[in-house]
Every structure is written in structure tokens, then in C-alpha cells.
């Protein structure tokens, strides 16, 4: 594995499978009365959040605490620019404090890459979402959720997602989740299709390792998992689509559309969901919808990433499993 996790595209197939397998080990910790491992005892991890995020920050914090790391939460409301302080200064402050890893969420694409490569700080950098660029741990937790549901927790060990057909629907243009998922799912052997109105499809998408369709109904019957992307309401003012109602009619997922999917197919969403527009309550609350599982799996996957970047080379919890026996 590389020293930092900046982009899902940085992961090889073996890296990704190792993370998913390690996350399975980590998931077992959540089933214990005491959900804690000593792996990162004495290590300090800083969650550096320049952009508001509740669920991702809490997920990382839970992962860090379950690995016994000391956690510093740094929430910079607004951008570093509006505050008049630079990312470099913040990074060097953390370096001086001796942090062992930095988890960064930033509104500017490329900020984690700059942090990792500019010599401002030595610690490993984990990208928790940067602008419209990447959100690699989200992609990993999505892949983890798919593997668990489509193959099984134990049967899935060592497996990738070869041959699975995954559909991402919605605002691909502004979605770091979409970029990360296309990269990772392709690496894991899945066939990815993007469905969006043409205004929300990025320029140059033809070079991406995926298919593109404007017709959701045609794609759904051939889908093993459909991932709905969040549509920000402010996009409506920028003429990306005419009205909320028209978007919902053409690209929203309701019960009728869900019925066209194969029986085993999943409905996923990175959250937070805009019910009624991109997904109906009927679908969101159905057994097929994995939104709650995705949240739980996020902690396991982030534990795995932190462990692999900061921990030793030994298997994460093997000895603990032995004790359980």
C-alpha cells in the first residue's frame, strides 16, 4: 500500500481486497461487548475538517477510538482562505504537535494531495473527501457493503466484485463519491454504468472505465446494485435540470422502478438522502436499501485503512479471534 490514501485510483486490486478483508476482521470487533482494540495505542490521529461533515467525521472518530488512538478533532468552519489561515500553517502546527496521521476533509479538490506531497507534514494523509475529486473511504465502504450483500461476509474474503453490474445515478458531475466508486469498482472488476442527465455528466467521461446512460429504466433490470447520488438543491438554480419534479420523474428511484431490478439487487446511497426527490421513502425504508449498513460498514473500513497505514504488518485482530475460541 502507498503511504497515503488520497484517491481510490491509487489502490491496486490487491490493496483494495486487503482493506476489505481487514475490514471484515474489524467488523467483528463491533460485535463484542467491548468494541476496542489496542492497535493504535499511543498514536495520535487528527481529524482535520475544513468542510462540515457530521457522519464522516464521527465515523472516522469511532474508527480511531476503537483502535485506541488518541484523537484530535480540528473543525475549521469555512475554508482556510476565508479564515485567513493557510492549509500549510495548519499542517505545520499539527506536525509540531507530533500527530501520527491526518484525516482531512476539504472543500478544495487536491488539498489532501498537496498536504501529502508538499513536504508540509510527514504523517500519512487520509482523504476524507476533497471538493469534487475523491472520497476513497466512501468507495471502500460501498464496495465492502456490496461484497457482503452480494457474496457474503465469509465467502467474500479474498474476493473482488468481478462481473457485478453497478449503477450510479444522479449528480455525477459534482460527486466525489462517483469518481471514487468508478475507480475502485473498476479495479475490483465490476461493470459500472453512470446514469444522469447530460448536464450532470462530466466532460471527458468517455475516458472513464464505465458506461454512461441517460435512461435509468433501461439500465435497472441489469443491475446488481444501484447507488443513488445526492443532488444538491442549489444545482437547480444553475440550470442543470428544469425542476425538482422533472428530475425526480426521470432519475428518482421509486417503488415501481425498484421492482424492475433483479430480486437480489441492492439500493445504496452515500447519504444524506433527499427523500421524495432522488429516492422515495418506500425505497429508502425497504430491506433492499443498505444506507444504515453503509454507515456501520464505514467504521470497519476506516479502522482497516487506519490500521494498514499506521499499524504493523501483522494481521489486525487474529490473536483476539484466537482468544475468543
Amino acid at each position: 500500500m502507498k503511504r497515503h490514501l488520497i484517491s481510490a485510483a491509487d489502490l491496486t486490486r490487491d490493496d483494495a481486497v486487503l482493506i476489505l478483508d481487514t475490514a471484515e476482521e474489524m467488523a467483528r470487533v463491533a460485535d463484542r461487548p467491548i468494541k476496542k482494540l489496542p492497535t493504535l495505542r499511543g498514536r495520535t490521529v487528527c481529524n482535520l475538517f475544513f468542510e462540515d461533515s457530521t457522519r464522516t467525521r464521527i465515523s472516522f472518530e469511532a474508527a480511531e477510538k476503537r483502535l485506541s488512538a488518541d484523537v484530535i478533532n480540528f473543525a475549521a468552519k469555512g475554508s482556510s482562505v476565508s479564515k485567513g489561515e493557510s492549509l500549510k500553517d495548519t499542517a505545520q502546527t499539527l506536525e509540531a504537535m507530533g500527530v501520527d496521521a491526518v484525516v482531512i476533509r476539504h472543500g478544495a479538490s487536491g488539498a489532501p494531495y498537496r498536504l501529502a506531497t508538499s513536504g508540509w507534514i510527514d504523517a500519512p494523509v487520509i482523504n476524507a473527501g476533497d471538493g469534487t475529486h475523491q472520497h476513497p473511504t466512501q468507495a471502500l465502504l460501498d464496495a465492502f457493503t456490496m461484497r457482503r450483500r452480494l457474496i457474503g461476509p465469509d465467502a467474500g474474503l479474498g474476493q473482488d466484485l468481478s462481473g457485478r453490474r453497478i449503477t450510479l445515478v444522479g449528480d455525477v458531475l459534482h460527486s466525489r463519491v462517483a469518481r471514487s466508486n468508478v475507480d475502485l469498482l473498476h479495479t475490483l472488476g465490476a461493470e459500472v454504468t453512470l446514469v444522469a442527465p447530460p448536464t450532470l455528466v462530466p466532460v471527458g467521461v468517455e475516458t472513464w472505465p464505465c458506461e454512461v446512460s441517460y435512461d435509468l429504466d433501461r439500465v435497472l433490470p441489469k443491475t446488481d446494485a444501484v447507488m443513488m447520488l445526492r443532488v444538491q438543491r442549489e444545482r437547480m438554480n444553475a440550470a442543470f435540470f428544469p425542476t425538482e419534479r422533472e428530475y425526480s420523474r426521470r432519475y428518482g428511484l421509486d417503488g415501481e422502478r425498484m421492482a424492475r431490478m433483479p430480486e437480489h439487487a441492492l439500493v445504496m446511497h452515500p447519504g444524506p438522502m433527499v427523500r421524495g426527490m432522488e429516492i422515495t421513502a418506500e425505497v429508502a425504508d425497504s430491506d433492499r436499501c443498505t444506507v444504515v449498513e453503509q454507515v456501520a460498514n464505514g467504521v470497519s473500513v476506516r479502522m482497516a485503512v487506519l490500521y494498514l497505514l499506521l499499524g504493523g504488518n501483522e494481521p489486525a485482530v487474529t490473536h483476539t479471534r484466537t482468544e475468543e475460541k
Binding site: 482556510s80 493557510s86 487536491g110 498537496r114 498536504l115 506531497t117 462530466p202 466532460v203 471527458g204
Partner: protein, 428 residues
């Protein structure tokens, strides 16, 4: 002032000649000139060009003296072989009155490294809504002939039309920064495959091309001339080529960095590559080179845009746009145009001296290297090869994309009206 004999230089890359300077003027050009009473500069193997003229420089003074001043900027210009620069109007305060343009003009005169010709803003405060006092700036001591809101586009078609019409009264030219503002909201790099991968806001080629198309038609409609700043796309080249074939009075410039660098460099997220207009694709670069070679693009202009270190040592989105260019321009042109066989040195003299002086009406500059002309000259060691080291720049800023890159050529001497401003590669 004593006489200076430049001995054995290849004038415009052609015949080996001696050039005798007497005072501010070239006294003679020929073979075997007498060195009696003259200081001799041995120039065997070197290229002698007319002093370079930059139609597009940001000197930052007044207002951003932490980036550059007229003194440091003109020292950088001299180091790069320039004897005249046109200073863009986006200073603080904006150069939209006779007072500000006179201030910049006089600072240039006082420092004496390079003639400084201020460019006046087209609109008050570069805000695009009200014409600045174009006539007053022209009639001032600065004698402004070029007007531009560079950094911003004059996007209102009516304002652009009026500006084009108005400057006809005194033979001025409007230099347009072609950027349709709505199409480039949030733009941070060229819109294309790379921007989509990197998740950076895209600056589409059509945002430049649509404004150029509109402006050449406006210039034709009102019978005026228009100059297009820093062309960056293959489509822009096609529009300018079409306009010229139609007889429209349009001129255009390209920067050295748009002749060499592509948006692939942005993959590093290193803000030294953040510039406006953005670095485009390899196809665009090749089209720009070809257009400069065939004369569709008239001149090379640096768009020298100095910024202090802290404005670039940050995340991409927060970084300022622009790169310095005065001290590397000739080297980049040598590499991309001369060593590729696209331009002769005589043609370089046209694109970097004669033509920009003609467009900007820079008196005494852009003249042939011949007897009786002002001694504005640049001597280049074209055989030199070396890595760019910004620590040695005369500019106050160091935001160059070429740090550590090997570029050919080094200016060894620059003469401004017979006075050496650069000697053996060092400022005099």
C-alpha cells in the same frame, strides 16, 4: 557616452556582423568595423536581436508591491532581453485615470531598466459597466495607446462596442481578455478529461472562443481594430484566422507557457501551473505553435504575473492565477519555435519585437538592427543549456513553472538606447 562595438554577432540569426553603438544610436552595422575608441563585446556565435517588447506585463505597482514593483519588474524585463514593456491596468488603484498611468510611466522612466508603457483600463475599476476616461489617459504624459481590462473580460457587448469605437479617435486599440464569465464560474483549469478526473472546475475553450468570435465581428462592424490577449485554444486560432482572411483588423498574442505546457501538468495540483487562461491540451499547444509560425498569431506576450510565495504555496483552489515569464520567455520560444524549425530568428524578432511595438505604438522600439536606429538590442547565447533557478530571478516573485527544467538560451546583454542594462547575464 562611449562607443560600444558588438563584434561578430549573428544579426537576427543570419549574417555575422559587427554593430557599432554610438550614444543612443546604432552608428553602423557591417563586417570588420573598427573598434577604435569603443568598448568591445565579443559576440561570436551569439544571436543579436532588436530589443524585445512585451505587450502584456503585470508590474503590480501601485498596490501589490509585495509581488512586483516597476523597478523589480523592469529589471526582470531587462534580464529577459526586453527594452519595453506594456504594464497591465489591474493595479490597486486600477490604472483607469490619467494620474495612475502617469505614475507608472514616470516610475519606469526613473528606474531606467526598460521603457514602461502603461495600459489603461477600458472600464472604471475593471468593473465592465462604465467606460474609463480613455481620452484623458491617451492625452496624459503616459500617452496610453492600449486599453485592457485584462484579468477580466469586457463581457458587455455594448461596452465593448463603444470602447472599440471610442479609441478610433486617437488610434488606440482594445486588448481583450476573452473569457465569457458565466461559462467560467468556478473555473480552475481547462475543462476536459483532466479537470473531470481531478474534480476541478472546468474553463471550457468555448468561453474564450465565443468572446473572440463576438469581438472580431464587433471590430468589423464598427471598423476598429481589436487585439486578443493570450490565445489558448485551437478554436481561437481558427476564429482569428477566419477573421484575418475576412479582412478584419485583429491581432493576437500567445504566451510562452501556452506554447509549451499542457493541462496534464495540473495532475500534480501544484499551483505554479494555475494560470488564466488555463493550460490547455497538447492539440491546442500544437495549433498555437503553428499559428504563431504562420502569422495568424502576431506576437508572443509574456502575461508576466508575479505573485508572492504564500499566494502559491497552498492548495490549488486558494492559489492565485498566473506565472512569471519575462526572464524565461525567449528561452521557451527558442525551445518551442526555433529548435523545432517553426520560426527563424528573424521571425522571432518580428513576433517579439517589431510586431508588439507596432501594435502598441512603442516609439523607438521594434526597429530594425541598422544604422541610425535607436540602440535597443538583445544579445543571446543560444547555445547555452541550463536548469532554471528562480533564486536568480530579478523579479520580486518566483512563481515559475520551469524551476529545475532545462531550457536553452541565455540573454547575455541588453541595451536600452545604447546603455547596457544587462552585461554578461547580470543586471548592470
Amino acid at each position: 557616452m562611449s562607443k560600444i562595438l558588438i563584434r561578430g554577432a549573428k544579426v537576427l540569426g543570419g549574417d555575422v556582423q559587427d554593430v557599432l553603438i554610438d550614444g543612443e544610436t546604432i552608428e553602423a552595422v557591417g563586417a570588420g568595423l573598427s573598434a577604435e575608441g569603443a568598448d568591445v563585446i565579443e559576440a561570436e556565435g551569439k544571436i543579436l536581436l532588436p530589443g524585445l517588447v512585451d505587450l502584456h506585463t503585470h508590474l503590480r505597482e501601485p498596490g501589490r508591491e509585495d509581488s512586483e514593483t516597476v523597478l523589480t519588474g523592469t529589471r526582470a524585463a531587462a534580464s529577459g532581453g526586453y527594452t519595453a514593456v506594456f504594464a497591465m491596468a489591474n493595479t490597486f488603484p486600477v490604472a483607469d485615470t490619467a494620474g495612475v498611468v502617469e505614475q507608472v510611466y514616470r516610475l519606469g522612466q526613473e528606474h531606467g531598466y526598460c521603457d514602461v508603457q502603461p495600459i489603461g483600463a477600458v472600464t472604471v475599476g475593471l468593473e465592465g459597466s462604465k467606460l474609463a476616461e480613455l481620452g484623458a489617459m491617451h492625452e496624459s504624459a503616459a500617452g496610453v495607446t492600449v486599453f485592457s481590462d485584462d484579468g477580466k473580460c469586457v463581457h458587455d457587448a455594448v461596452i465593448m462596442r463603444r470602447a472599440l469605437e471610442y479609441v478610433k479617435a486617437f488610434g488606440g486599440v482594445v486588448a481583450q481578455h476573452a473569457q465569457e464569465p458565466r461559462l467560467t464560474e468556478g473555473a480552475q483549469m481547462n475543462e476536459g478529461i483532466v479537470s473531470s478526473e481531478l474534480g476541478l472546475g472546468g474553463w471550457p475553450a468555448v468561453a474564450e472562443e465565443s468572446i473572440i468570435a463576438r469581438d472580431v465581428l464587433l471590430a468589423e462592424h464598427v471598423g476598429s481594430r481589436v487585439h486578443i490577449c493570450h490565445l489558448s485554444t485551437a478554436g481561437s486560432v481558427e476564429i482569428v484566422r477566419w477573421a484575418k482572411s475576412r479582412g478584419i483588423d485583429v491581432t493576437a498574442e500567445v504566451t510562452p507557457h501556452h506554447l509549451l505546457l499542457t493541462d496534464e501538468m495540473v495532475r500534480t495540483y501544484n499551483p505554479v501551473y494555475k494560470v488564466n487562461p488555463p493550460l490547455r491540451t497538447e492539440r491546442d499547444v500544437m495549433a498555437l505553435r503553428e499559428a504563431l509560425a504562420d502569422g495568424t498569431i502576431d506576437i508572443v506576450a509574456t502575461d508576466h504575473a508575479p505573485h508572492p510565495h504564500e499566494d502559491k504555496d497552498c492548495e490549488w483552489a486558494a492559489a492565485a492565477m498566473g506565472m512569471v515569464g519575462l526572464e524565461t520567455a525567449l528561452s521557451v520560444v527558442q525551445q518551442t519555435m526555433v529548435e523545432t524549425g517553426l520560426l527563424t530568428w528573424a521571425a522571432v524578432a518580428d513576433r517579439m519585437s517589431y510586431a508588439p511595438a507596432r501594435i502598441g505604438q512603442a516609439k523607438g522600439h521594434g526597429r530594425p538592427v541598422s544604422a541610425g536606429e535607436p540602440a535597443n538590442l538583445t544579445l543571446l547565447d543560444s547555445a547555452y543549456r541550463g536548469e532554471v533557478d528562480p533564486a536568480g530571478f530579478a523579479s520580486r516573485s518566483r512563481n515559475t513553472p520551469y524551476e529545475g527544467r532545462e531550457l536553452p538560451g541565455r540573454v547575455t546583454h541588453t541595451f536600452l538606447r545604447g546603455r547596457a542594462t544587462v552585461v554578461d547575464g547580470k543586471l548592470a
